[in-house]
């Protein structure tokens, strides 16, 4: 090859690098999606879905065996026995058989957007939110049962209660759909975008959810009426995560790390508590102990319901997602940390940490 062509090639490569510096990397940035049951932990991150052994955090398998740069996974997987349902950023939704080496049972390919939120399941109906502004309901044989279309990307996990699918919408509302056909039963308008998934309280037959407008509401499931709205006298900041229900309280947090306990019945404030830092992640309930707080700066704490700190640990990386609590572990996903997942026991001892091997 002559010198002049080598130089031409070098210039082209440099130009490519410059442009690549602007545009390469994952098309969208997100955090590891973690889900777990008593036998397995599934982590979705970048080009793989990992199955981990809860006992030691060792990788049991990864899917796909060889990375496909177009296939990016961030949505937490839905675990149903040995079946795993997970969507990717190549617009595909997969059913993976988790026994032994992972095999794909089927792939749903009708969506035109990314899967970012965890899917929900009710019997044999799988309900998957998608960025193409649709919610897809698929049966166990990969047949599309219905779709529901709206104005903005669906990124939150849907909630199924009896005959209803309830889903948060970025379009400043909570949408109630008919589970049978996906038709709209009602829409309940809020003041800001709703990113957090709704939580159902069977005691009051109500839905609890917060929005980015600094409000937290109780919605009566049957009537769609907003029973009460809490804004802390205008001091509440945006709510990015779902609440927990414990001991006759509904507890949630805003982005400033203010944790609030309310009466589910009346919306009256029981107590406020300052977590001590910025907090996008929600609270994770540890039965009989309290709740886990994950601050963005990497501090993980277990706080008792009396608001006394039981233990506090520092991990590497930024924490944006609500920790996952299993029978005996607290799983914390870290963004750009030394490890991807940290596992603590309920006494605050780190049991293991997972970092994918290359």
């Amino acid at each position: 090859m002559s010198k002049k062509y080598l130089r031409s090639l070098l210039i082209v490569l440099l130009a490519g690098l410059l442009l690549a510096g602007c545009a390469m990397g994952p098309r969208a940035e997100s955090t590891p999606g973690i889900s777990a049951d008593e036998n397995k932990i599934i982590v979705s991150y970048l080009n793989y879905v990992y199955k981990l052994d809860p006992a030691n955090g060792k990788e049991a398998w990864r899917y796909p065996a060889k990375a496909n740069t177009k296939q990016v996974f961030y949505a937490p997987a839905l675990i149903d026995g040995e079946s795993i349902y997970v969507g990717d950023f190549a617009n595909d939704f997969l059913k993976i058989n988790a026994i032994g080496a992972p095999t794909v049972d089927w792939t749903f390919t009708e969506a035109k957007g990314w899967y970012q939120g965890k899917a929900a399941i009710d019997g044999s109906l799988i309900i998957a939110p998608n960025s193409d502004r649709n919610i897809y309901a698929i049966d166990e044989n990969n047949n599309l049962v219905w779709t529901h279309r709206d104005q903005f990307a669906y990124i939150s996990e849907p909630l199924v209660v009896e005959n209803m699918v309830i889903v948060s919408s970025q379009d400043h509302k909570v949408v109630f759909l008919n589970k049978a056909d996906g038709t709209t039963i009602r829409e309940v308008a809020l003041n800001g975008a709703v990113i957090a998934a709704p939580v159902y309280d069977p005691e009051t037959d109500s839905i609890f959810v917060g929005s980015l407008a600094g409000e937290f509401v109780r919605i009566d499931r049957q009537s769609g009426e907003i029973v009460w709205r809490y804004d802390g006298g205008g001091t509440l900041e945006s709510v990015w995560s779902e609440p927990i229900l414990v001991d006759g309280q509904v507890i949630f947090n805003d982005k400033t790390g203010k944790i609030i306990s309310l009466s589910p019945e009346t919306g009256a404030e029981n107590w406020p508590f300052d977590a001590g830092g910025t907090m996008s992640a929600g609270l994770a309930l540890v039965e009989g102990k309290g709740f886990v707080v994950a601050l963005e700066d990497g501090v993980v704490s277990l706080i008792g319901l009396d608001r006394q700190s039981i233990w506090s640990r520092q991990v590497s990386g930024t924490l944006f997602d609500t920790p996952i609590v299993t029978e005996n572990l607290i799983l914390v996903g870290a963004f750009k940390g030394d490890n991807l997942v940290y596992a603590f026991d309920f006494q605050g001892q780190q049991v293991w940490a997972f970092k994918p091997e290359k």
Binding site: K4, A15, G16, L19, C22, A23, D132, F335
Partner: protein
């Protein structure tokens, strides 16, 4: 620092435009044009400097100097530098405006990326970037739909079940036109440079097209608008030779005033290797012209 000084203000301006026009696609178009207009003085300076260098390199005196000292690189470099100094031009003067534009272009690109927040994490980051005087509740979420596109996703126009990447095609075409428009006329002297330029001109549109095909439609839209605005700026300065793109068009670029004037030296002065007398004048005075035309009296 970078985010605070460049990306955050850009993102907020983009969001303000989005609030005003209520359409993110239109906001990207207006914002790109606005930034291009703001950086127009730099672009114009870059074009002028580049033109001055091109004129200099085509000048017979410059070529003669090259020929004369072709075996003495050191002397040639020395003479060239002296000529540059005397004319007040610099081979790097077209690079400086370009370098100054770089942070702005990258900031523009990053602000569009930030505003197109598609994932919850990106939304969190965007919310924190919004200035307190803007109501983030009204801004978020940003409606990414524009014409047939979802600006947060790679664009395809479905026709008869086939997804046609219209924006990627437009990016390729507009980049091709832009590179042709910006390409200096060939001096015919340097094959290697010409080969490199041709290679770049062929590769860049393809590279940009591949990026537009793979990445979000919002970015592809920005590429198209940016290319078209640059072409428009060249056309406005009369630097566009349309016949290079459309061979059937006879037009030539408007003959503007030369950026530099290099007076020819009489033969004997050149022989004596006296320092070259050059003037940095955009328009030679009548007196100077007359003096130059006057025959020199031989002793």
């Amino acid at each position: 620092m970078w985010d605070t000084l460049i990306v955050q203000p850009f993102t907020n301006v983009l969001l303000m435009i989005t609030m005003l026009v209520k359409n993110f696609g239109v906001a990207i178009i207006l914002f790109t044009i606005l930034i291009k207009l703001v950086t127009y003085p730099l672009t114009a300076k870059q074009i002028k400097s580049s033109q001055a260098m091109q004129e200099l390199q085509k000048n017979p005196r410059y070529l003669k100097m090259q020929e004369k000292y072709k075996d003495n690189k050191e002397k040639l470099a020395e003479e060239q530098m002296r000529l540059y100094r005397e004319l007040g031009v610099s081979p790097f003067s077209s690079c400086l405006p370009m370098l100054l534009q770089f942070p702005i272009i990258i900031g523009l690109y990053q602000s569009i990326m930030r505003a197109m927040a598609s994932t919850p994490l990106e939304l969190i980051k965007l919310e924190r970037m919004i200035y307190p005087f803007l109501d983030s509740t009204k801004i978020l979420p940003i409606q990414n739909r524009f014409l047939w596109m979802d600006l947060g996703q790679p664009e395809r126009l479905m026709i008869a079940g086939i997804g046609i990447p219209v924006l990627a095609i437009l990016v390729v075409l507009s980049t091709l036109v832009q590179t042709k428009v910006m390409q200096p006329p060939s001096s015919g002297g340097n094959d290697q440079a010409a080969a490199m330029t041709n290679s770049m001109n062929m590769t860049m549109p393809i590279l940009m097209g591949v990026m537009a095909y793979q990445f979000s439609a919002g970015l592809a839209l920005y590429f198209v608008v940016s290319n078209l605005t640059t072409i428009g700026q060249y056309a406005a300065m009369g630097k566009t030779d349309w016949s290079r793109i459309f061979p059937w068009v006879k037009s030539k670029p408007k003959q503007s005033k030369p950026a530099i004037v290099i007076p020819d030296l009489p033969e004997e002065e050149e022989e004596e290797e006296e320092p070259m007398i050059v003037e940095k004048i955009s328009k030679p005075s009548a007196r100077a012209s007359a003096k130059r035309q006057r025959p020199k009296m031989k002793k």
